[in-house]
C-alpha cells in the first residue's frame, strides 16, 4: 500500500513537473481574481472578514481548476485500465491523488497568499503567519479529499467542466465557512486576534468525516 501510494504520487508529481499544467494555471487564476476583486469591490486595501472572504473564495475557485484537471490524464490515456490491471489496492489511487492535490494547493498558496498580502491585504501578514498556515493546511486537506472524490465522480461524465463546480461548491461550503471564520481574526487591522478553536475543530472534523466517506465509496468509482 505504502509503496503503491509513493509510486503513484511520484508519477503525479513528475507529470505535473514536466507538463506544468495545473499549478501555474491556478496561480495565475488566483492573481487574476485578486485584480477582479480589486475592481469589483473598488477597494485598495481590505482587512478582517472581507479580506478573509476574498482570500478563501479565490483559493476555492483556483482549487476547482485543479480538481477539474485531476483525473484527465488517466481518463484520456487509459491510465484507469492500467491501474485496475495492477494488483494493488484501489484506495491507493485515492490517497495518492488527494496527497497530490494537497501538495498542488500548498504550492499555489505559496505564491497566492504572499501575492494577496502584497496586492490587497491592509494589515501585515507576518503577524499571524503560523496560525494562518495551520488554517490553510486544514482547508487544503478538506479541499483535497472532497475534490478528489468529486473529480472521480465527474470524470466519466460528458459535461465534466460543468459537473465539478456544481458538485464541489456545495460540498465545500462547510470548509469555506470554517476557514473563513478562522482567518477573520488573523487578518484584522491592528493586530491579529486569537484563533477561534471551535471553528478549527469543525474544519478538522469535516476533513476527517469526508476522508472516511471517500474511503468508503471510492472503490465503486473505479470498476469496469
Amino acid at each position: 500500500m505504502r509503496t503503491t501510494v509513493a509510486a503513484l504520487l511520484s508519477k503525479e508529481l513528475t507529470l505535473e513537473w514536466r507538463t506544468r499544467e495545473s499549478v501555474p494555471a491556478m496561480v495565475l487564476f488566483s492573481i487574476a481574481t485578486y485584480v477582479v476583486f480589486h475592481f469589483g469591490l473598488d477597494r485598495d486595501r481590505i482587512a478582517g472578514d472581507l479580506a478573509s472572504g476574498v482570500l478563501w473564495v479565490t483559493l476555492l475557485f483556483a482549487a476547482i481548476l485543479g480538481v477539474n484537471r485531476l483525473f484527465v490524464a488517466e481518463y484520456e490515456q487509459g491510465g484507469f485500465d492500467g491501474f485496475l490491471l495492477a494488483p494493488v489496492d484501489r484506495t491507493a489511487l485515492l490517497v495518492a491523488k488527494a496527497v497530490a492535490l494537497f501538495l498542488f494547493l500548498c504550492l499555489v498558496e505559496l505564491v497566492a497568499v504572499p501575492a494577496f498580502a502584497l496586492l490587497l491585504l491592509g494589515p501585515p501578514l507576518t503577524q499571524a503567519l503560523p496560525q494562518l498556515v495551520l488554517v490553510l493546511v486544514l482547508a487544503n486537506a478538506g479541499i483535497a479529499v472532497v475534490g478528489t472524490l468529486v473529480a472521480g465522480l465527474a470524470i466519466q461524465t460528458r459535461a465534466r467542466d460543468l459537473i465539478v463546480p456544481l458538485l464541489a461548491l456545495p460540498l465545500l461550503v462547510p470548509v469555506l465557512l470554517a476557514s473563513a471564520r478562522c482567518a477573520t481574526p488573523l487578518l484584522q487591522d491592528g493586530g491579529a486576534g486569537p484563533l477561534p478553536g471551535d471553528w478549527l475543530a469543525v474544519a478538522a472534523i469535516y476533513d476527517l468525516l469526508f476522508a472516511l466517506i471517500a474511503y468508503a465509496v471510492f472503490d465503486f468509482l473505479l470498476e469496469d
Binding site: 472524490l149 465522480l153 465527474a154 466519466q156 461524465t157 460528458r158 459535461a159 460543468l162 459537473i163 456544481l166 458538485l167 461548491l169 456545495p170 460540498l171 461550503v173 462547510p174 465557512l177 470554517a178 471564520r181 471551535d198 469543525v202 469535516y206 468525516l209 466517506i213 468508503a216 465509496v217 465503486f220 468509482l221 470498476e223 469496469d224
Partner: protein, 227 residues
C-alpha cells in the same frame, strides 16, 4: 390524512399570538422540510443497498426518493420564504441557518440530474449516481451542523418546540401534519415507482409487438434507472 391535517390547521389550532394567521404555514413548511431531509438520507441508504447488492431496484428507489425530495425541497424553500417575509419582513434572511443550509443541500441535489444525464453507460450511470447519493446523504446532516454553528438562532427550533415550547393543541396539529406529509411522500413514491414500472413494461411490450430485435430500443431522453 393530509386533508384532515389541513382541517385541523385551519379550525383547531389556535392562532399564534405574535404572528397571527401566517403562522399556520408552519404546519406545511416544517413537516415538508423534515420529510424532504429524511428523504435525502433515505435516498443515500437505498444507494448503499444498491452498491452492495447491484440490483437496479435499489437504484430505482434511490432515484425516485431523491426526485420527490427535491420537489418537496422546492416547496420548502418557497413556503419558507413566504413565512420569513410575513414574520421577519424579508424574503430571505442569511442569518438563518435552516434556510441557508437547506439552500445548499438543494443546490447539491439539483446536480443529480445533470450527473445522470451526462453518463451514457447505464450500469456506470447508476453506480455513479449511487455514489453521489451516498456522499450527499452523508453531507446533509454535516452541513446542517456546520451552518447552524455559524449563525445566531433566529429560527424556531422544531424539535425543541414540539417537545416543550408548543401548546398541546398546536403540538397535536403539528404531529398530524407531519404524519400526513410523510404519508403523502410515501404515496407519491409509490405512484412514481408504479408509473416507472408501467412505462418500462409498455416499452418492452411495444418492442415485442413491433418485432424489434434490438434489445436497447429507443429509450427516449430519460436518465431514470432501467429495470
Amino acid at each position: 390524512m393530509l386533508t384532515g391535517a389541513f382541517a385541523l390547521v385551519f379550525f383547531y389550532a389556535p392562532l399564534d399570538a405574535d404572528q397571527g394567521f401566517v403562522q399556520k404555514i408552519f404546519y406545511v413548511h416544517v413537516p415538508m422540510a423534515i420529510v424532504a431531509l429524511c428523504g435525502f438520507v433515505a435516498g443515500g441508504v437505498f444507494a448503499v443497498m444498491h452498491l452492495r447488492t447491484r440490483e437496479s431496484k435499489w437504484d430505482m428507489r434511490s432515484y425516485v426518493t431523491i426526485h420527490i425530495s427535491v420537489i418537496l425541497a422546492v416547496g420548502v424553500l418557497v413556503t419558507g420564504s413566504i413565512w420569513a417575509r410575513a414574520s421577519w419582513g424579508h424574503w430571505w434572511i442569511w442569518d438563518e441557518p435552516m434556510l441557508v443550509s437547506f439552500l445548499i443541500v438543494f443546490l447539491l441535489y439539483a446536480t443529480y440530474w445533470p450527473l445522470r444525464f451526462s453518463i451514457e453507460d447505464k450500469e456506470k450511470q447508476s453506480r455513479y449516481a449511487s455514489v453521489f447519493a451516498v456522499v450527499a446523504g452523508a453531507f446533509v446532516p454535516l452541513n446542517f451542523t456546520a451552518v447552524k454553528m455559524a449563525q445566531s438562532f433566529v429560527h424556531p427550533e422544531t424539535l425543541a418546540t414540539t417537545t416543550g415550547g408548543l401548546p398541546p393543541k398546536m403540538a397535536l396539529t403539528f404531529v398530524v401534519a407531519l404524519a400526513g406529509m410523510t404519508l403523502l411522500f410515501v404515496t407519491l413514491i409509490k405512484y412514481e415507482m408504479a408509473s416507472k414500472h408501467a412505462t418500462f413494461r409498455l416499452r418492452a411490450l411495444r418492442r415485442r409487438l413491433a418485432g424489434d430485435d434490438d434489445e436497447l430500443g429507443f429509450a427516449g431522453r430519460s436518465a431514470a434507472p432501467q429495470l
